[in-house]
């Protein structure tokens, strides 16, 4: 097989570079990370004419080779390092027909690196509408390159581009501009100090850290004796270079590029006026948010329910059809539960990213940022933080993934750190059950206390996020240049293909990134909960059976069975009266006996698993932390539930169901059981106003979500931030709950 041509796709943001990439590679693409950093690396394979293939890298969008962010430095590093295995044989610069002037700046820089460079002028379908005419042959001659006029929307020009890539060897590698004229004396000295190096490449390497950070410097450090210039001087030279390049470009475009201004404007101006209006702008944004909320909360409930049921039946199938044993347990309660815990988030993530990519593709997102920036700034956040903060009310995981659009690292980090405070949907089951238990039924101005409490908890989450952002803004000493420049791209109809790729990509990156950690944690939790060393654990079945034989089932279960039997009997009698069935008294008695035996077996199994959990490693851990949770008004059972719900908050309810050995996850049953629980220390109901509020506050503040930690680790690429989050949020939650309980009790 012949060698693949290595192609680097590079261009300004918003030029449709990704569309070109998608058109070239189709589904033959993979997304990963550059080693050690969180910048996405997109690669793909493209079939070319005459049986040739190309390996294509889609580099992060950049305006020039003067880097100001991590993303950009990735692009530059590749172009400067001839030894990189991905160093391109040919660079394809994607430009947007409406911003040709600005796009050519990057083009001339790459051309001057003596890399064969093809120019793609994208969005060609807009030319006639915008009154643009380009003399392509003249432009090709002046820029000394080959040009493909492409429209990814209309699917034209891609074949031409493939041809050009195949023939890359015929491209000229003559530079466009002699940048050394900006300071001949300085460049002469450089040239004599490093006679072997390409002078423009040398210049780029030297100036990399003027705006950002040093990258590939080792090559030249040895010769540091060379009298260098100070940063301000270098920066001035960079500006001179930019001006020089623009002079060159303006000169060419004057001849080869014409715009009939009357054809332009129109729609854009009126849409801008409406969408950034001080009333309608916010109103429209609010309505869009409502739709997104609705989708994440309500629409995704259907697929989530389907997923839940599928996993429940898969678990059941495994338990019933495989021979009982450790392996079956591991499969059913560890692995399947873990995978289920990952898959359940997919609908919400997919919906969120569907909307986000739609908003980004259309160009609306930039208007939101424009609208919100001033409001968010006092809190150390940027206009771009608004999307993550709002989507955090559904789930922090997609929300944290959505912070990637924030270029400023400090603003992005603060957004990541405070997002988990917003009330996510996993807190809801916990809140609901505790509110039902401890908040009285009364009404206040027609609003029920319970609803008000829930609303207060939502507000509490939001304000805690905002206030922590403010504090973090003061504490964090991160130097990141906080200039805010955002391009306001033209409005476009979204390309469905791009939207679909984005949704697919983000979902995949969640499932395989955070998914691994979630799976590992749920297996650990399963192990701790289903293994023990004590005799009680090993002989659980025997001990509980004996106990039941001597003193019967627990009071609660006896009552529950009695009342269920009574209602069953009533139902049977009713159906006879209504002549639904015609059966005699004997059959009724039989049926009731069978039902009773059934219920008894069920209750017994529950009591055994409850006893096992109590004596498992997990149970011991729960008991070990009793002294810690007692001041908050909890007993060891709640302690266990807090430990297990570390995997995900909603596990709290399920764990309590197991510990209290109620037969089902039905909320009502658990609530009844919990209401009956007596705190051995105080002889009062365990769940009272004081301990209830304390629990609510604990769940509002504590970082009880392994998945979020996993995502934060992935997005910040260090354990430092998720650990800081975990420790700070847990300690804060503990202190607040402690104070609340001690005051209220």
């Amino acid at each position: 097989m012949s060698k693949q041509i290595k192609v680097a796709l590079i261009g300004n943001p918003n030029t449709g570079k990704t569309s070109v990439f998608n058109q070239l590679t189709g589904l033959n693409q993979k997304v990963g990370n550059y080693p050690g950093i969180t910048v996405e690396k997109k690669e793909g394979v493209c079939k070319l004419p005459r049986g040739v293939k190309a390996h294509i890298i889609d580099l992060p969008g950049t305006y020039s080779l003067n880097t100001t962010s991590l993303d950009e430095s990735v692009a530059v590093e590749l172009l400067l390092n001839k030894n990189d295995k991905d160093f391109p044989d040919v660079a394809v610069v994607v430009a947007d027909v409406e911003n040709l002037k600005r796009n050519l700046l990057l083009f001339t820089q790459i051309k001057d690196l003596k890399i064969p460079t093809i120019l793609v002028i994208n969005m060609a379908d807009r030319m006639s509408r915008k009154g643009i005419t380009i003399d392509i042959p003249l432009l090709e001659e002046k820029l000394n390159t080959k040009i493909a006029l492409v429209s990814t929307r209309k699917k034209i020009g891609i074949e031409k581009l493939r041809e050009l890539i195949t023939d890359y060897k015929s491209l000229s590698i003559e530079p466009n501009i002699d940048a050394t004229v900006i300071s001949p004396e300085y460049f002469d000295r450089l040239r004599s100090a490093f006679p072997k190096e390409d002078i423009y490449k040398l210049w780029l390497v030297i100036t990399q850290d003027v705006n950002f950070m040093p990258i590939e410097k080792t090559l030249y450090q040895n010769a540091a004796s060379f009298a260098t210039k100070s940063k301000p001087e270098l920066k001035r030279l960079q500006q001179k270079e930019t001006i020089l390049r623009y002079q060159f470009i303006n000169g060419i475009l004057k001849q080869a590029h014409k715009v009939d201004l009357n054809a332009a404007k129109g729609l854009r101006a009126s849409l801008d006026k409406l969408l950034t209006h001080k009333v309608f702008g916010y109103l429209i944004f609010f309505l869009i948010l409502l739709t997104i909320f609705q989708a994440i909360y309500v629409w995704s409930a259907y697929p989530m329910e389907f997923i839940e049921n599928s996993f429940a039946s898969a678990t059941e199938w495994v338990e019933n059809s495989l021979p009982p044993g450790v392996f079956t347990d591991l499969l059913a309660e560890g692995i399947l539960a873990g995978i289920g815990g990952i898959v359940i988030f997919i609908p919400q993530i997919a919906f969120l990213f569907l909307f986000i990519s739609l908003l980004e593709e259309t160009g609306y997102m930039s208007r939101v940022v424009f609208l919100m920036d001033r409001l968010m700034r006092p809190f150390g956040l940027s206009g771009k933080s608004i999307v993550p903060l709002i989507s955090g009310t559904a789930c922090a995981i997609p929300a944290i993934m959505a912070t990637r659009t924030i270029e400023n690292w400090k603003e992005r980090l603060i957004t990541i750190l405070v997002t988990p405070f917003t009330t996510c949907s996993a807190r809801l089951p916990v809140y609901l059950i505790i509110i039902t238990l401890v908040i009285p039924d009364g009404r206040f101005f027609g609003l029920s206390y319970q609803a008000l409490t829930l609303m207060l908890l939502y507000l509490l989450g939001f304000f805690t996020a905002i206030i922590s952002a403010m504090i973090l803004n003061k504490i964090l000493k991160i130097k990141s240049k906080s200039f805010f420049v955002i391009e306001m791209p033209n409005y476009k109809l979204p390309l469905l293909k791009n939207v679909a790729y984005t949704v697919l990509e983000k979902t995949k990156s969640f499932v395989f990134g955070a998914g691994k950690i979630i799976l590992a944690i749920s297996i650990i939790l399963w192990f701790l909960g289903s293994n023990g060393i004590s005799n009680e654990f090993k002989n659980a079945e025997e001990i509980v059976t004996n106990k039941i034989n001597i003193s019967g089932l627990s009071d609660f279960n006896q009552h529950a069975i009695a009342s269920e039997l009574a209602s069953y009997e009533r139902a049977l009698n009713d159906s006879i009266i209504e002549k639904v069935y015609t059966i005699d008294q004997l059959a009724i008695a039989d049926s009731i006996t069978a039902k009773s035996a059934n219920l008894f077996e069920h209750a017994k199994r529950q009591e055994i698993s409850s006893f096992k959990l109590e004596n498992s490693y997990m149970g011991y851990m729960g008991k070990a932390i009793t002294p810690i949770v007692e001041p908050l008004g909890y007993d060891w059972k709640i302690g266990i539930a807090i430990l297990t719900s570390f995997a995900a908050r909603e596990v709290f309810v399920g764990t309590l169901a197991t510990i209290y050995s109620v037969g089902s996850d039905e909320e009502e049953t658990i609530t009844n059981r919990m209401a009956a629980e007596i705190n051995p220390a105080t002889q009062m109901p365990l769940f009272n106003l004081a301990s209830g509020i304390s629990l609510l506050l604990f769940y509002a503040f504590a970082m009880q979500c392994a998945s979020t930690l996993a995502v934060v680790k992935k997005e910040t690429n260090t354990w430092k931030w998720p650990m800081a989050q975990l420790i700070f949020m847990s300690v804060f939650a503990y202190i607040v709950s402690l104070i609340a309980y001690q005051i209220l009790k």
């Binding site: 003067n66 424009f370 920036d373 206009g383 240049k481 420049v485 391009e487």
Partner: protein, 81 residues
């Protein structure tokens, strides 16, 4: 009269004058904020900040603090009529 981009009214235009080195981030220059280029103020966000300009064909939004650093020569609109 000396004006900066921050003092423009909506629809008003000006030509960027020479500015002191080091003031503006290179990114802004790359986007077309160069001496001699024309700037038009398109929109102002509800709280007067950021502002949304068209410079040299680039549509960008910048914060007011940065706009104050860019000196302008105002184009008298009447001469265009």
């Amino acid at each position: 009269m000396i004006k900066t981009v921050a003092q423009l009214k909506r629809g008003e235009r000006g030509i960027i004058k020479e500015f002191a080195d080091d003031i503006l981030p290179i990114k802004l220059l790359e986007l077309g904020c160069l001496p001699g280029n024309e700037v038009e103020l398109l929109q102002v966000a509800p709280l007067k900040d950021p502002i949304y300009i068209n410079v040299n064909g680039s549509h960008i939004a910048i914060r007011r603090a940065m706009a104050e650093l860019i000196d302008l020569e105002i184009i008298d609109n009447t001469t265009f009529l």
